[in-house]
Symmetry: C2
Subunit: 208 residues, 2 copies
């Protein structure tokens, strides 16, 4: 997965090149940002993704210009970032964040097969809310036809991870200034039902 | 701010083109993703940002290749996304997310003036943790020299916002399937001190 283009240049000690770390980040991050070049200009768009083995799926409407650009062969740079905490140092200079980020570079394949499309749609909904596929009304032929799915092979990729406390300069350690980490997490809160008299499903119960 | 390149094509009813919405998203999102083109390839990197009036500041080490590419004139596409909830529909097809995203396109100016650099460093730390500048040890000349700051004018930009409940097809409304929204929020938890016998500062107390 490590290539010259996916080697972490800045703070190389934070670079990770194993699939386990990469897959864990891609699977935990609810959304990613897809960057590509359109008429010489960089375009970056947030979207939902899902990973199945070494394939990264993106989905959307057949009217999506992002997906049609990728399907037409534009190279994609997909990043996913999970914020794990604010790193509060004694000096302004050493403030930082704890995070895990993943980057995947590649060209997408337009998925034409209905079974693979259905499996990708399942992976996307399960990625966001595990167990939801079994509960919801499945996609019909019209909906599958209206959905574009592209697959990016996870071949050229890397991760970057910062963990742990702030690292202040030696001469600042005795300053009477609090330092530490404030952990952060994307947290779900009480569901807001759009239906009456229907109990919370297992997928939502397990999440909250 | 609205140009052809920043007009929301897909689901245009979600597009917003006022500065109030855009600034609120940029100010609330703790991080952004900066996309640019390097040797024909899209590159997207998560980083911290801060807004001061109509300037979007990015900062990092003078060794950052991302910042040196931008300072050398590469066009940037900066996106920031806040996830507000999972939209759980009766049908798989209508599952969605509530979100607020901002996109800023532009070319950066390399900030050379020490006062503007110091102000930008202050804006960055205050953006992440309000009140921290007054508490921490301020940047010295060596640290300011080691920091590269670039400023992107917020001139070409847009926002995209989804709010509210799932929108299912009419014929699915009577299905015995729960639907609704699970709100999500990036939440701080109990601080982990790196110092002993120093009380939590106001900035961290106000956050958690």
């Amino acid at each position: 997965m490590k290539t010259e283009r996916t080697t972490v240049n800045r703070l190389p000690e934070r670079g990770r090149y194993d699939r386990e770390t990469l897959y864990a980040i891609l699977d935990e991050a609810p959304i990613c940002t897809v960057a590509f070049v359109r008429e010489g200009t960089p375009v970056a768009i947030p979207t939902i993704h899902a990973r199945v083995d070494d394939q990264l799926y993106l989905h959307g409407s057949t009217a999506s210009t992002m997906l049609s650009s990728l399907a037409a062969g534009a190279e994609a740079c997909v990043t996913a970032t999970i914020l794990d905490g604010l790193v509060v140092a004694r000096s302004v200079f050493h403030h930082s964040m704890n995070y895990r980020s993943a980057i995947v570079l590649g060209r997408a394949r337009d998925v034409a097969d209905d079974d693979e499309k259905r499996n990708a749609m399942r992976a996307v909904v399960e990625h966001v809310l595990a167990g939801r596929w079994a509960e919801a009304r499945k996609p019909n032929r019209r909906e599958i036809a209206a959905t574009r799915i592209v697959a990016i092979p996870i071949a050229e990729a890397s991760s970057k991870v910062r963990t742990g406390p702030p690292i202040d300069d030696e001469e600042d350690l005795a300053l009477p200034i609090w330092a530490g980490v404030v952990p952060t997490r994307l947290t779900p809160s009480a569901p807001v039902p759009a239906t009456k008299a229907i109990a919370l499903p297992a997928s939502v119960r397990n999440l909250v």
